[in-house]
Symmetry: C2
Amino acid sequence: MFSFQLTSSDLAPTAARTGVITTARGEIRTPAFMPVGTLATVKSMLPEEVAATGAHILLVNAYHLYLRPGHQLIERLGGVHRFMDWHGPILSDSGGFQVFSLARLGRVDDHGVRFRSHIDGSEHTYTPELAMAVQRALGVDIAMPLDHVLPGDAPLEPARLAAERTIRWYERCREAAGELTTFAIVQGGVHPGLRQWHARELAALDAPGYSIGGLSVGESKEEMWAMTPLVTAELPVGRPRYLMGVGSPEDLVNGVARGVDMFDCVLPTRLGRNGSLFTDDGRATIRNARFREDPNPIDPDCDCENCRRFSMAYLHHLFRNDELLGYRLASIHNIRYLVRLTERMHAAIQAGRFSDFAAEFLSRYRASDETVRHDQKEKWRRRAFETQG
Amino acid sequence: MFSFQLTSSDLAPTAARTGVITTARGEIRTPAFMPVGTLATVKSMLPEEVAATGAHILLVNAYHLYLRPGHQLIERLGGVHRFMDWHGPILSDSGGFQVFSLARLGRVDDHGVRFRSHIDGSEHTYTPELAMAVQRALGVDIAMPLDHVLPGDAPLEPARLAAERTIRWYERCREAAGELTTFAIVQGGVHPGLRQWHARELAALDAPGYSIGGLSVGESKEEMWAMTPLVTAELPVGRPRYLMGVGSPEDLVNGVARGVDMFDCVLPTRLGRNGSLFTDDGRATIRNARFREDPNPIDPDCDCENCRRFSMAYLHHLFRNDELLGYRLASIHNIRYLVRLTERMHAAIQAGRFSDFAAEFLSRYRASDETVRHDQKEKWRRRAFETQG
């Protein structure tokens, strides 16, 4: 059971739209931000705290759960929903991105990809069929196919080969998916023609939804925002579009403006644990001495657990003493901030004033350049082309 | 506003009893375990989670809050209850124990104690008057006086001098306390006559409650349990007795048997963060591979947030991956375990079968020898007698 209903579209010049995804475990209003629970836990938070942020779906990672504790163990224990006690929809990443970035990559060919675990160096072969078996064992609501991911600066020829392979793999994934709703993933690097061709080829396969992969992986923001509308323009209007691994607040606004419906990112929880909190003016660093005695919440407009109850002074105190509660409150705030941002965009789109909203938001928000995957990028870039089979 | 009402006493041979402490912020049923929120946070937990364990009072530490963020800052922000959003009763430790153990101790004389901060080495002079000013600024419900704490193996003569000074300091603390309910602290090391004398002297001063200090500070358990009943026998029946810094499950049972009403300890949260969980059979180490696929809760009789919802397999998975949620769930379980133990003792005392309960509990529970303060002990012992003024 999976369907997507568009509920409104913004007037030109933006491609923003609102919709509702229906799954057996509940509805998801779009635009949607999906908090990341890589290892079947949104770091530091209980499921009801995630739900209280307004998030209706979360993401787990098949690569991580395949390695530890093992998808079969989770299946024997009743599936990932029961394991982590979250009973709303769950989307799983297939592990494609992780296999090609986090693991020690071995041979890649049409059969699949050999890699060594980033945990213990053990050797594994991941295939489209295994990626689907893992996600079926987890019992998720929306699965991703295995895709061939390259760094953002991959030249045209390897990008073309990887995109072609991604189509062949997607067909095998669909075959192996059974009843499991499985999106297609559009690749193609930063090559406009290749991106458009790949999107068209996958559109012809009539997937229930489309992910945009291979962005936010080392290319520039300009390239990312040049590619995204080329892709969404080729995709069927009546299918949800999911921009993988994105975003920051400004990325969500830019993505929605280009017709994206779904986002996920570890940014809110990772930044939260570092004491960096989203506000409409940009990120606030809570350890900064100027917050030492501030009796106000970090964001007076925010209705999260933290902002309703605690002063910046208290949060500053928690971070200054490395108190675990600080990581949790900051994560809650940041996720709520992004979910609330999707709610604000939803209202603006429905009122036909998204363009103004986006312009106002982006002119006020002081963006930070760091992206979450930055630490992985250099390492990955150095070795990525040595290993193409 | 402070009162204590005995509600029942066990039949001999134990001195166990039940009671109710009434404060302006609520009632506390005794025997009571007080979770420790040293820095105005019970590590990893929100106030409502602490309340959900059944705890009716928690403890903060005046020494720590004096150093960071400063008691005056907390006062300007509306007091410690508002700062941390816990609106039930709070008891504060004066910091006597920390000054004499954690800080770099300087000169001690009747005026007070000079020390250097364990955080930044800054120099401070703590006096009975300052200890009370700090606790009044925090706005706690029950305060402790400054006492002169010695290691558990202190010889008679220094122990006698410290005990005498503790009386003089208590009188000054009462003077400085204003309306603030301030217990007296019984010292006297492991010297039976000195302990009895000190308890009698303080009993004559008619304090609203009595703390038993200077135990669980390096002496043996046998010595601790030999001293405790000597003290409680000298104290007025109608005043609550608080055994400071104790306990483990077996310590709670042994303490209640000897007439103790209140306990506090960082053990449940510290052990929780280490993945060590209380059960009636002793501590379970959740990282142990035997829990890897166990679908049951750690304690089938426990009604805590963790045991009602999560399998040992999930908790094992969280700890194996150093997930913050694991620390939190284990802390919740351990605090609930101790609070539930006080509830079980309460029921047994009121039913006149505490003796049997204690015997059964202690014969089943496999105690561990480690105590929380162990890491501080050796360091402290080495230097403690060099610094007596």
